[in-house]
Symmetry: D2
């Protein structure tokens, strides 16, 4: 597994629901923010290296377990790391901590590399340079070609 | 002004904030829903006639005045009509009513027609068929060519 | 497992991302919509029976597996059913179908009953009438008291 | 008018729409973030001083004019200042700049002070301490008592 990249956020009023706590899908949105920060921390801009390059990191599965609720103005830290990387897939893990370093939620996303027509691609063939960059982030585990 | 097209929605839990009422930007999202329904009620699919056709109905200005708050599970009706249509611009009006027909909010959006590179276009030249369809929805008022 | 309650939605423009497809956390929001419809289809208003009654159906875990992407204006049907019900917990399952009845996503949420101070409650003791109503929706499986 | 308080954000993937640009209601959400930062920069926590104190800064009107579109990963700065403050109302102005200091959007929100039952309140009577704090942020202009 890769080194962890941390992203700090402050809970927005609009991310909370009538129960006064963060509406649970907001954590999944935070995972996207943390994932893009993990990439950019390693010199990979998602917009440049993926989106404008015709590569979509499409989500196959998302999971989140909620341990402790958060409220507006709370400061949170999201730790993100790559769990698995292959030429066709990538999965990441996320941990959400509050200001007291208490674990509030933990999750995982699983992705496939596709083109803009939603067809699965072999990243090493489609975008060798991006594939090299990603390999530097995480040791490649070739599951399928 | 055109005939009004009404869209019915039920307020979602996730559209409400810790004050227990609909978070105010959600109304602006509802305006988008109502605008697309107004178009589709006249046989114009936004995705087909605009998006896939390379035309963006970009928003230049939005205004909303809030009269009465709404809560999750409330049923709302959004009345939408075209206020102005020209070859380069379009503006629409919106009124949000609750189940008792009480006006809860009223707003307006102003749009320009642009291409995917965000350049202003003359719709009559760029997409004459779409321009004809829109003219049937609202009497054209040529402000600029 | 209970009978399935279906909810029909039309994908909103604002629910889609720059890849042109529904942004994946939106499905988790749809699960909330479908869950509240399942309850209301059985005569239980979440706002009246839960929220105003001081009971929170807090989310402990959410999972979603994405099979096929959806786009703005697509019509979707979300089938929701109760998977498990006890005095302290409840879990539900969801399946998202497109207009051609093709499964686009499937997920699950797990919940605990808590009070407004986020303390776990035994629903049968805290709100016997609500507990009776929920038992009619799903056969009770008492896991813990 | 008060001094300006600046808030820096990075555009999130999920804030953008299929046209590839920030979905216009997201700016209204950013205004909320900027408003709460303006308050906290002056030592007023919205959650503590307003929400937990039973005071709602309800939105009466919102306006936004869009000058230039923004994309995911763009860094933005939102300048916020108090335009008007009275015992019953408050209005604020917002300017959104991109990384090149180009104005991308400008808006305004108008608010009333209400209690949790949505009744208008005179803040000087309801919460004299909060009223004093707000007066330090902006010179009071008593419009109505």
């Amino acid at each position: 597994m890769t080194d962890v990249v941390s992203t700090e956020l402050e809970v927005r009023w609009g991310e909370c629901d009538p129960a006064g706590i963060v509406y649970h899908p907001a954590y999944i949105d935070w995972f996207s923010v943390a994932r893009m920060h993990l990439l950019s921390a390693h010199g990979v801009s998602y917009m440049t290296a993926f989106h404008n390059n015709g590569v979509v990191l499409v989500v196959l599965e998302v999971n989140c377990r909620y341990h402790r609720s958060l409220r507006a103005e709370d400061k949170v830290q999201i730790d993100c790391s790559v769990e698995m990387l292959s030429r066709t897939r990538m999965s990441l893990k996320y941990e959400v901590y509050d200001a007291n370093d208490i674990l509030c939620a933990a999750g995982r996303t699983e992705h496939a590399f596709t083109d803009l027509q939603n067809r699965a691609i072999n990243l090493a063939k489609h975008s060798p340079e991006l594939w090299k960059l990603l390999q530097k982030i995480a040791p490649a585990v070739s599951l399928e070609v």
